[in-house]
Symmetry: C3
Subunit: 351 residues, 3 copies
């Protein structure tokens, strides 16, 4: 049977600034069922290793940085950034097996990424493209929350934006139009990409006070989703052009960008790293604050429905679930995930 | 093996006013291992259905009332009060299987009752009689608490009032006389009924300040217990008549009434709905307040001993427990329960 | 397979004053997977019995002391200090089996000790010697904390003081010298004993302000460890004598004493009872307060590393752990424990 998590994939381990340069900056993360220590060397290079001393399993994240190395503060064993044990106090030789497994780790677009498979096979071209909070043409705010559900439910949530009409009715919604869109998804080896326009809708609830009551808008949507669960979205809000098909052609009122990376801790819990904001070109005073606050509220709306769903699924194990038209995106995305999981499983079996 | 819970029984789902008429009044309940949504139509009719959308298991109680229907606020599916799916946004046809199981539900004596078996077999004559808080001849206060124990222990608690002398020594007790009563129980198909007099006892602790220290009382007790765990009690407090047998014949000082319905959530937890008060005829200023406060304290006394008991039973699984004379009531009540459970189990096996 | 806990051993159940003489002093303890009630008779004698009524498993610790007996406050059964049921309200005869198992219990050196095996085989000579907080030649402070780990990890912690250099770097440490000591342990039937000198070290962190920066000290260490997990320690702090071997011969600056008893509640949690202080002869104003505060902080340091370790061990079940030179003490101590466990297991099998 396939494992719950892909090994050969990059998982987001947080925002660039989550791991600092200070002596105390030893960051513990739980990713895809494994416990990791993250830290930076004096030069700023990232190190990721198993957060477990090979001697008696003490967390290295409770240890002490010493130059580019980390010392376990239970019995003083010292490990280099390659995981190799450099010293055991009181011993002349390093005992065999005293090394800590390491992970390939790097930064891209403001995020820290960890490859959970064999570091030798880590392929940086597989890291998803995202909107960088440090991009000078954008103004983005960042944060993270924890949601107690399985990441497959989060994939399904993100691959079907019809839920904006319902889950986010009081924040980003305010119209049922999202619930009637049937977008076409184009599939690629590690995800799906989707483009469409939601036409002639009133301002979303959070922005109603900014526009006349009868103002109508077209929203040009561009979504890129990739495994394990990265969601890169551009909403471009246009004045409604009165057309019924084709790209939105009305005046661009606001061009908004969000990057969202979902990292499973284990089968019941995940970390959600997100940014939201606008292009500098279309930004106006207060709009990024407003969007950030709205977005945070919207994530709490997702958290509530996802955790409720998880609870029912645990209460009714094996209960049948029917499919509807909006499951096309989730189904394609989970198909990609399951295909990759099966390939890893087969490769493992063959090896 | 028999199931833990009766299906063919009415379970109390709360007080009449727990489920309001407002747009937001979607009430979630856990009853006998199932998750239920309760709401009222605009006309006030009660609806009870599984609190799980058949699409992706989101709780319908996180949804939205629309007229007599409820909309799942994950993907917008709309369900009528009969559980039938009326609409899936973006689809012309309702997919097969898109219905939500419903439960027979009704009101009686101020309580809401749900039949957990096949609604077609729901028999309203099986709902226990209780004292209605809206009865104009009574003044009753109501509330509920949660107790983390198995409901069989709660049955045993209620079917043997000798515990008043010990568990409730500081509230309703104040004499060990309850501990020596050996009442006769008469059995009926769904429970037991018990009548006796506790004679020549001092005022209960909570009411000592109302009477001379040497005042003595007879308490005429009438208990009706029915499955799953409904406890309907009348305590009539008389001036002691000096007799040693027969009904109490002294002057009636206070005629008190309580209805208590215990609804298991699951095997480890239950909801306890209760009222307490007096007849208007014997009520005097302050007495119902005093009784209500005392009663709430007494339920916390029960909660403490029952949860302690549950903890020990989980720590010592299978440890022998001896029987004493006061187990006659509990044994008869559990015998009735087990007989009905076995019948359902047999009926299930035969079918 | 051997059990997790020794039966034929004395476990510390707390400090002498934890169990008072008052009517309400019914103390519940969880020891080695069993639930105990502790109380004192009017004469001050200690009683230890299973904290479970044989009738319906209610905790006797929620009961009431009556003279030298305890009454279960669920249905009023009364038990003498020998566990024998004396009375069941409403019954003339005591039903068979209505007795509560008791434990051998006594006091020694300020601690209460319980023998978890057959009381008839309780051998008081097996209680470890400790420093008594009531000893007129000592000034000791006492307290207790809870640590959520398996007691075997606590044994390993206490049998290897090299961790002082790392875990306690900011309290008792301040030098890596502890991490290089390779002491010889002498084994006895129920534990190990260890003596050595840590030479020519600066003042420990907590006491640096009391001495010139270049002051150097020798610490004469004497540890006695016994099953299940009792740790009796004397640190004698001398002016450094400049020697490299033999006992410390410099002037004694402070002679400190600590007794620590670790009692497993179950496989995941333990209670830790400890004292710390000095001889009256070497005490100076404020030093015992300072040591006590430091010691409490140090126990929180241990708690943090031990609970982190436990978490990793549960996350990575069966993951290999390598051995280092400092495991000699832990290995000997766990060897003694496992030998005794195997003997009990074999005796049980033979019987």
């Amino acid at each position: 049977m396939a494992e719950a998590f892909l090994k050969n994939a990059w998982y987001c381990a947080g925002w660039r600034d989550d791991v600092g340069l200070g002596q105390k900056d030893l960051v513990a993360r739980r990713i895809a069922g494994e416990s990791l220590l993250l830290y930076r060397t004096a030069e700023g290079g990232l190190v990721a290793m198993e957060d477990r001393c090979p001697h008696r399993s003490a967390p290295l994240s409770l240890g002490r940085k010493e130059g580019d190395a980390v010392r376990c503060m239970y019995h003083g064993m010292l490990f280099g950034p390659d995981g190799a044990c450099r010293h055991v106090p009181g011993m002349d030789k390093i005992p065999p097996g005293a090394d800590v497994p390491t992970y390939a780790v790097c930064e891209k677009d403001g995020w820290i990424w960890v490859w959970m498979g064999d570091p030798a096979s880590a392929d940086r071209t597989l890291i998803c493209d995202a909107y960088d909070p440090h991009d000078p043409t954008l103004t983005l705010r960042t944060n993270s929350i924890r949601i107690d559900t399985n990441y497959r439910q989060e994939i399904a949530n993100l691959a079907d934006l019809s839920h904006i009409s319902w889950v986010h009715d009081e924040t980003f919604g305010g119209t049922d139009r999202w619930g009637y869109i049937r977008p076409r998804h184009s599939r690629n080896p590690r995800g799906i990409e989707t483009k469409y326009v939601v036409r002639n809708i009133p301002a979303p609830r959070f922005a109603k006070h900014l526009f006349p009551a009868d103002a109508r808008f077209d929203i040009q949507v561009h979504v890129r989703l990739s495994v394990p669960c990265n969601f890169i979205l551009n909403f471009r809000i246009h004045q409604a052009d009165g057309e019924t098909s084709g790209d939105a052609r009305g005046k661009v009122l606001l061009d908004t960008y969000t990057s969202q990376a979902v990292t499973p801790r284990d089968e019941n819990s995940l970390d959600y790293y997100f940014s939201w904001g606008t292009s500098k070109e279309t930004e106006f005073p207060g709009v990024v604050d407003l969007m950030y606050r709205t977005n945070y509220e919207a994530f709490l709306e997702d958290k509530r429905i996802l955790e409720g769903q998880r609870q029912r699924q645990l209460e009714y194990p094996g209960a049948p679930e029917i499919d509807i038209v909006h499951d096309a995106g989730p189904a394609q995305m989970l198909w990609v995930l399951d295909k990759l999981l099966a390939e890893e499983s087969g490769a493992g079996a063959a090896a």
